[in-house]
Symmetry: D2
Subunit: 227 residues, 4 copies
């Protein structure tokens, strides 16, 4: 009985090791689901490219496959409409949702922004569908429309309010959170003494410059690896 | 054999008659799915109340059950979100969809109108879900935001464009159509020589007065009974 | 010679006294130039009525004539268009300018808000015309559109930015300043722990309740008497 | 006496001839006061350049000096603010005012369009100042934001309404009128059978292509020469 139990013990160890190995070897598919900021992130210098480079440096290149799924002008409605085709069809393990700028911005730009209650409802519907598939979700708050630090950017009120909706959703559904709104604000307080509208982390008040892409890449990677 | 065939024939006749009777006796459940215009339609003088009265006069009161499902401020997104709870759960036989005013109006009123491409997509999603349940659909174009006849009402361009989307959907999916946009325009050409903004068919450029409710009731009833 | 000089001395004293008396007796005409908030200020409980009551209590009722010149919906353009008829024609000694809410709010409400550069230019034109007539000017920043304290009110970005324009103008042209934006924010931080949208100083996010009228009256009076 | 009267008669004739000559030789200074459409009109192929070429062909090159005074993004408020420096300071004989597109468009684009009543008032103020200087005025209605012929362009309602304001002003103040709104609509009905949004007279729904510049040049020249 003893020898038998030893063999059983060895087998359990072995199967556990195999399981661990297979877990380590299984490449995690990560999709970044968002708007033009994410669309640009797969270009040289973009935040997804920078994340890949950082993973390579850490020897984790084969652990994660990073896929961009950003389309310019997208709002939460657009993500809802295309999540089946553009995300779920690819069977991702992890999804970053990075949306909200156009939901706020299009109010003044086209008159077709998103009511805050419907931002909540459609975002919730997306989360529910992803969680049904046991996908690990990491939500991002929209960073900035204008980099001034004294809350005089036209959309600051809404940007703060819609970011709060996302923080609440992350908490409610136990999702990861990359709070870019807060991260950017703290960075600006330290690095934008002239209260400039753009040029610190963005090229045009919204889209990321090199420093912006680097900051987003670092914070997303931190959250990705911090399981 | 002969007597048997006669009996069989009589039974077929009888069952056919029973079927006919049950068809005639089966009350059709009709839901009006819309915004504040439809919300007001169940009040005295409202277009749903007028339709009920007209059905009673025609001796058809027991053939149709008319149910209002209008909520003020609704856009196509809202109908999409609540169609399951507020319409499908009631198992209707027929649904009138009367939406579009707020999709256009909220562009200027709140900055949260509906992009025309998304108006099309979410309207299509609603139609698809209803047709899956074999519900008879009757679509209505939004009538007016302002009653001036010379296309100088601020939202006339969009009202014409969004109405065209609905006409195309009605044709594509073989739905019924009550083209209130055209019906109102023709009525105004005949009855609004002073080019007034309101007071002919509406109380406030949008919501129906008695004449407006009567006109909508007549045209909807015509389409309902014209199978 | 002595008696003559005494008489002369007495006459000088007398004329000086007369001068002083006439200075004290000259009633200062004060016009409050603004929008619906100022239009409501002449009603019972309004901030102008409260200022009158406070002046009476201080025995200064005859020193100041307070006149409301507020019209609902006014933006800086409207003040510019009607300043001749509604203010200058009355030869005021002192003018409070209290404008800005609609310049910001009408962006989302009607699509006809005021560009910030034109807000500056037309406000400057008004100031120049008033200073040409040697009128003492006291500028007020717009208080709030929404009372939440964490800068999540939709218009907070613009409200902060347009207030800054007014602060700069007050400094540049050496006008008085009642910085209602800051005054309200500090009051809310102390008295709105629940981060409510309205009900602390306003009835509806914009228009003043009793506490709001009282606060405005106190701060305006302080600035008026603090020459 | 006879010879004297003959000399006098000859002198009168002569002076009359001199007067006529000087009238014919006096170059008329014509300023085109407007927005980006007029700013582009001084470039090769632009409508002002085309008018100069047409005047040269007619041998009238020395009769008219054509000067562009268009600035991109201008609304009626901007014309009002810069009319002194940019137009009156140049002592023009004739001014074309061609404004209105941005007054309508900026409603949806920035939320800072022009209320129709203020469009009327500030336009009137400009006309009054120009007429005080005995300048011949020719008003132009804004042509198009979108070239579709069935009034489904988003801004058609406002474009029609604001054009009507300009027509009324032209009539009231006895100014010339180039009704580009109507001219373009008629041209589109004949030349845009596919109901296209752009490409017939514009490159982008608003700014003129070659055909558009040619049409505007012809119609403006016609009005300029038709005293």
């Amino acid at each position: 009985m003893r020898s038998l139990s030893r063999i059983a013990f060895a087998m359990i160890l072995l199967s556990g090791f195999t399981l661990l190995t297979s877990l380590r070897l299984k490449t995690q598919k990560v999709i970044f689901f968002g708007d033009s900021i994410t669309q640009a992130a797969v270009k040289p210098g973009g935040y997804i490219v920078r994340m890949k480079e950082a993973l390579t440096q850490k020897g984790l290149a084969s652990d994660y496959e990073l896929i961009g799924a950003g389309i310019g002008g997208n709002k939460v409605y657009d993500l809802y409409l295309r999540m089946e085709d553009d995300v779920l069809a690819q069977n991702p393990d992890i999804v970053f949702i990075y949306i909200g700028v156009n939901d706020v911005w299009h109010k003044t730009l086209y008159g077709t922004g998103t009511d805050i209650d419907k931002f909540d409802k459609f975002y919730t519907a997306i989360i529910n569908d992803f969680l049904d598939k046991h996908i690990r979700l990491i939500l991002c708050t929209p960073a900035v429309i204008g980099e001034r630090t004294d809350f005089t950017n036209q959309q600051d009120g809404d940007m703060n309010a819609y970011s709060q909706v996302i923080r609440n959703l992350a908490q409610k559904f136990h999702c990861g959170l990359v709070d870019l709104r807060e991260i950017f604000h703290n960075y600006e307080l330290a690095n934008n003494p002239g209260n400039k509208e753009s040029g610190i982390l963005t090229v045009d008040k919204v889209h990321l410059n090199d420093a912006g892409n680097q900051l987003v890449a670092e914070k997303m990677l931190e959250t990705l690896l911090n399981k």
